[in-house]
């Protein structure tokens, strides 16, 4: 765990949403993430690419709290120690994530799914359950429904949605709490071209100066299309960092990843 | 379709709830019903299950001779599945729905305690064929077997006599429930009051009902025996399948009846079925009937059982007969005699006919009921395990003993 002193010091610039330093994750001796240092800034879309097993999803798992790292620091807004935070507190601090496979609640309607993402009383589950569900919540749900363009199917059970719609719905659930760090794990996997275009547009709509978007995606073209900055990971390490053009011209990247 | 199946389900349950109402009292027809409450599944099935067939055999005998009060006996069998509350439930079913004139049932005290409120609130009769801890005397239960004072104590007296080996130290090992605990409490009082034996001469251990691994405990018995002092014995009150498991371990650890004899208070012939009894020769038990009881009447009973088993494909051995079987058999006959004497199946009248009823029991004794209580006066046998998975008779009481329901030693 990070010492209090470290939390007080400044890491990165005022623009830095996430500060990741020397992050190491091990599974039975296998280093999935190896001393990774990475900065994610507000206002942009930061893509992470890399071959299978590079550790991209694991990084997200650590930030979300699903996986505990062996060592390293993850700071939010340069002050909040994310790793020490309780899993459910991270959402309250504005960290939201869409999983790789669409994780929506298939037995609930689209509207109910999104409503789960809205919290009127973030501090008390009891109050949320007893008093939540007022007009403010409904308004927010409608707002999100419009953003992700699923208003037409708002009352359908999520299980009946098409694959692409489920992806958007999950983004919507996360979006409902207006996250400051939005992590998207392969949002366009398995999508048709039209759906992909719609997703790209959605991402542009989500862009905001108060929000950092972290995108893990296999589809290089898509990453290039939407990202401001791209990091390349390989075997748990950061290989290259920069714009899409910069990293694609990096000889090391070409060797391990593109030129395979 | 969904809805239809649902409605059907509701319909079935509705029918199930209301149908029993039309069953009329059994003795309005030309048969009279009696009920059986013995488990044919679960932990007690092996020993208890055979009693169902004994009731049927006895009923068959009575029916061949014209029935009771001119009516044929019809036996209603249940399966409480070794589940104590279910005995109560099914007893209620037998009494209130089947309108049985009497019920024969229960092995463990726990099951009897579950049926007790049922027979009492309905003023019905339960014939209980097991020897047990006593301390109970219900007007609605006929105790076909003996309370401890007239069953356990004679055996103890024998073991403590010169002829029995002068036991003065006791290892009490029992299943953890009321029968073993009460027996042991009575024994401790008995030893203290009658022999002045101090508490350091005994050790008491209880295992859960159904306990199977006796390795450590048998080893502990060995230690107890090797400690200084006089002749030790084991007073064994484990029940059910713990009995053969215990003896198997006793054999394996090589303790013989000469070193530390075992008085197995619930051990019957059936418990020895799966065992090589050669190394067990000499261990003792104590019942109101043993298969080797001398006399023509026993032979007749054994023959009747064997042919009943063979004719009806009964899933129990034709050549093994145990006390609770005979007690159950006695019970059916004694109930029939009481009903004949009363000229009625009504419980109060049948009950008032009890005093003086006497039955020629296969054990060789003429067992009887008196006006004192509902305990049957029976003889006592002490048996010693022989090589043929049976018991030789070591001692038997000259006459039937007077049952003492409440022990003076607690």
């Amino acid at each position: 765990m990070t010492s209090p002193q470290r939390q007080q010091t400044m890491h990165g610039s005022a623009q830095t949403a996430l500060y990741i330093e020397d992050l190491t994750v091990e599974f039975d001796g296998f280093r999935a993430v190896d001393e990774l240092t990475l900065l994610v800034d507000y206002g942009g879309i930061h893509g992470i690419i890399g071959p299978n097993g590079a550790g991209k999803t694991t990084v997200m798992d650590v930030i979300t709290g699903v996986t505990k790292p062996r060592a390293g620091t993850v700071l939010l807004d340069r002050t909040h120690d994310v790793i020490g935070m309780h899993l459910s507190d991270r959402a309250a601090h504005g960290i939201g994530r869409k999983f790789q496979k669409p994780s929506v609640f298939e037995h609930l309607t689209v509207r109910e799914n999104i409503a789960l993402g809205v919290r009127e009383y973030p501090d008390s589950l009891l109050r949320e359950v007893l008093r939540g569900g007022g007009p403010a919540k409904r308004a927010r749900v409608d707002e999100v429904l419009d953003t992700i363009a699923l208003a037409a199917v708002a009352d359908a059970e999520a299980g009946t949605l098409a694959h692409g719609q489920k992806q958007w719905l999950e983004i919507g659930m996360v979006l409902a709490r207006d996250p400051r760090v939005l992590m998207l794990d392969e949002p366009v996997a398995g999508m048709s071209n039209t759906e992909r275009e719609a997703t790209a547009e959605l991402l542009q709509r989500l862009r905001s100066p108060e929000r950092a978007i972290l995108l893990v995606e296999h589809d290089m073209q898509f990453v290039g299309q939407v990202s401001d900055r791209v990091s390349v990971m390989h075997e748990g390490k950061l290989l290259a960092d920069g714009t899409m053009d910069q990293v694609t011209s990096d000889p090391e990247v070409v060797r391990v990843y593109l030129g395979r | 379709m969904r809805r239809r199946s649902f409605l059907k389900a509701v319909g079935v349950s509705g029918a199930a709830m209301s149908a029993p109402g039309i069953i009329l009292p059994a003795w309005s027809q030309d048969t009279v019903k009696v009920g059986c409450l013995f488990s044919s599944s679960g932990a007690m099935a092996n020993i208890e299950g055979r009693l169902n067939y004994v009731v049927q055999m006895a009923a068959q005998e009575i029916n061949r001779n014209g029935g009771v009060l001119g009516r044929q006996i019809e036996v209603v069998t249940t399966d409480p599945g070794s589940d104590w509350p279910l005995y109560g439930q099914q007893g209620r079913q037998l009494i209130q729905e089947e309108r049985v004139a009497a019920t024969f049932g229960c092995w463990t005290s726990a099951s009897r305690k579950a049926v007790l409120p049922v027979v009492e609130e309905n003023d019905s009769l339960l014939y209980y064929p097991l020897h047990f801890e006593g301390e109970e005397n219900s007007a609605n239960v006929v105790y076909m077997n003996s309370p401890p004072a007239s069953s356990v104590l004679p055996a103890l007296e024998y073991l403590m006599s010169d002829n029995g080996g002068k036991a003065r130290r006791f290892y009490m090992l029992g299943s953890d429930y009321v029968w073993p605990r009460t027996i042991n409490d009575q024994l401790k009082g008995y030893w203290q009051q009658e022999y002045g034996i101090e508490p350091d001469a005994w050790r008491e251990q209880y295992v859960p009902v159904g306990h199977a691994d006796f390795q450590s405990l048998v080893n502990d018995i060995k230690r107890f025996a090797d400690e200084s002092g006089e002749q030790p014995i084991v007073v064994l009150t484990v029940v059910g399948n713990s009995i053969p498991n215990f003896f198997q371990e006793y054999i394996n650890q090589g303790i013989s009846a000469l070193d530390v004899p075992v008085l197995g208070l619930d051990v019957v012939e059936a418990d020895l079925e799966g065992l090589d009894t050669e190394p067990l020769v000499g261990h003792l038990n104590c019942w109101a009937y043993l298969q080797n009881a001398p006399g023509e009447r026993n032979q007749q009973f054994l023959d009747a059982w064997a042919s009943y088993v063979n004719e009806n494909d009964v899933p129990f051995r034709p050549d093994v007969s145990i006390d609770p079987m005979v007690s159950t058999y006695d019970g059916v006959h004694m109930w029939a005699m009481a009903a004949e004497k009363a000229g009625s199946f009504d419980v109060p009248e049948v009950r008032s006919a009890f005093p003086g009823i006497s039955f020629a029991c296969p054990s060789g004794y003429d067992i009887k009921l008196t006006a004192d209580n509902n305990y049957v006066h029976r003889g006592v046998f002490i048996g010693s395990v022989n090589r043929n998975q049976g018991f030789d008779i070591v001692w038997q009481s000259p006459e039937t003993t007077v049952p003492v329901p409440y022990s003076p030693y607690i």
Partner: protein, 539 residues
């Protein structure tokens, strides 16, 4: 009381030396008459009298006494009004006339020997063997048995035999018999000898003897004897304590091996498919039943091989349950792989079904198993630490199952497929492993292992339809503690729980030990939710 008897016998012996017995020959008819029909006191007296005569009797009489005595002891002496018979091969021999009959007379029956009579007879018959037998091994057995109780056997006779005994082992066994006499003699030299003999055989019984000697002789001992006694006492005490600890450890090991056998198949199936098979305990039961069928078949087909039935049954006890396992996997489990909670209920239903099929078709009675001679009782390692053969056999089977399972999993193609599927089901499917067939075979394998457990348990526990129910929760606990699907973890957990149980049970009783073990396990799961040996890889 016993001491009184000894004094009485000594008196008799003294009398006997004063009144020389002219006719050393034994009154055979009188003896048989008393043995068959005398009351208890007459019979007991006759034993002592016979013993005093047998020493001086001629060889045929000695042989006669020994054979009739052993028949009597075994309950094989069948009395009639005039004489008695003993079995001789297929026929019976009239012990008085020596004539043979094919069948016993109708009125022949073996007289019942109560415990005091048998206690009196036992030492006498041993003493007779000591006097009569030319075989050192037989004499050794007899001498060993005598150390428990001399009964009516005069100590002087044993001292005499001790003085003339040529075999060293028999002599040292006789020393154990004589310690009581020596200690009581008051002669420091004898007492020293006795103490040395007691120290040489550090059993709890000898510990008790020593303690009683030291306590009872308060201050009346010579200093050297007292010092020797104290030294011997502390040595014997230490040895007995050490053997007690080893005994508990061994009990833990043997109980642990039972747990391991019951849990192993469960662990394999659970590890591979995430399926908890509540019918696993019933496969144990089926294994035991198959063993019984093999035994019964051998009785008919090849009675000579009956002694080896346990080993002959191994493949059958494996294949029988394995077959049932395949059927169950095919009919039930494979439809439920992704609904583990429902599998729990479905396998419970199967267990109920199996129990009741066996109950209805075979019955609820305990099955009778033949115990081969080599499995009866056991041997003493040292002091109180004794090993029984049946328990050792179950440990052997547990070791066999452990090694066999490790071999199958790590050295065969099937094992490779199982491990691959356990680690990554989808990937294995992609690289051409038929996960369906692997599941089916692994289920069969796990079921077969349970069958082996049933085989191993058939000589320890009762075999009946519900024999498994008491095992099932214990084996789950083992699997949970061991870690999903880890064979080694299962072994370590079974051993640990077995030992824990063995240490608690003698102190606090069987109920408490179960409760404490379960609570310990629940707390353990708090610390290590995935067991001792958590599954490898990411989940």
């Amino acid at each position: 009381m016993r001491a009184g008897k000894i004094v009485l016998c000594l008196l008799l012996l003294v009398l006997a030396t004063f009144v020389p017995v002219q006719a050393a020959d034994i009154d055979r008819q009188g003896l048989v008459g008393i043995w068959c029909a005398g009351d208890d006191a007459e019979r007991r007296d006759s034993f002592a009298a016979m013993l005093s005569q047998v020493e001086s009797a001629d060889e045929p009489t000695r042989q006669w006494v020994q054979s009739v005595l052993s028949a009597y002891r075994e309950g094989d002496l069948f009395c009639t009004a005039e004489t008695a018979f003993r079995p001789a091969g297929e026929a019976y021999e009239n012990v008085l006339t020596g004539e043979r009959v094919d069948a016993l007379p109708a009125d022949a029956n073996a007289p019942f020997l109560n415990i005091p009579l048998r206690r009196a007879l036992e030492p006498v018959s041993r003493a007779v063997t000591l006097v009569v037998s030319p075989e050192a091994a037989e004499r050794l057995g007899a001498a060993d048995g005598l150390s428990r109780s001399l009964g009516v056997v005069p100590p002087a006779l044993i001292e005499e035999l001790y003085a003339t005994e040529p075999d060293a082992r028999v002599r040292s066994a006789l020393e154990q018999v004589l310690v009581g006499v020596w200690l009581a003699s008051g002669d420091p030299a004898d007492q020293q000898r006795a103490i040395a003999a007691l120290a040489a055989d550090p059993t709890r019984q000898n510990l008790t003897t020593l303690e009683r000697f030291v306590d009872g002789a308060e201050g009346s001992l010579s200093p050297s004897v007292e010092a020797a006694a104290d030294e011997a006492l502390s040595k014997v005490k230490l040895t007995v304590q050490a053997s007690d600890i080893l005994t508990v450890l061994y009990h833990g090991l043997s109980y642990g091996s039972v747990l391991f056998l019951a849990a192993l198949g469960l662990a394999v199936i659970f590890g591979l498919m995430g399926v908890i098979n509540l019918a696993q305990a019933e496969f144990v039961m089926i294994g035991a039943y198959v063993t019984w069928f093999v035994q019964e078949a051998l009785k008919v087909v090849a009675p000579d091989l009956l002694d080896a039935y346990i080993f002959i049954a191994i493949p059958f006890a494996f294949l029988g349950p394995a077959l049932v396992g395949v059927l169950m996997e095919w009919g039930v489990v494979r439809h439920l792989y992704h609904r583990p909670l429902l599998t729990l209920l479905a396998t419970w239903a199967v267990s109920l079904l199996l129990i009741n099929i066996v109950r209805v078709s075979i019955g609820t009675q305990n099955l009778s198993f033949y115990t081969p001679e080599y499995l009866k009782s056991g041997f003493t390692v040292f002091s109180e630490f004794a090993i029984t053969w049946t328990r050792l056999l179950s440990i052997f089977f547990a070791a066999l199952a452990l090694v066999g399972t490790l071999f199958v999993l790590y050295r065969t193609r099937f094992g490779l497929r199982v491990r691959a599927t356990t680690q990554n089901r989808r990937m294995s499917g992609c690289v051409g492993v038929s996960t369906r067939r692997t599941d089916s075979m692994a289920f069969a394998f796990g079921s077969g292992l349970a069958g082996i457990a049933g085989l191993a348990l058939s000589n320890i526990y009762n075999v009946n339809p519900t024999m498994g129910t008491s095992l099932i929760i214990d084996s789950f606990i083992v699997v949970v503690v061991g870690g999903v699907g880890s064979v080694l973890g299962t072994a370590v957990a079974a051993l640990g729980i077995g030992e824990l149980n063995a240490f608690i049970e003698p102190q606090y009783g069987a109920v408490a030990s179960k409760v404490i073990v379960l609570l310990a396990v629940i707390l353990f799961i708090q610390q290590k939710p995935n067991g001792l040996f958590p599954p490898k890889g990411r989940r």
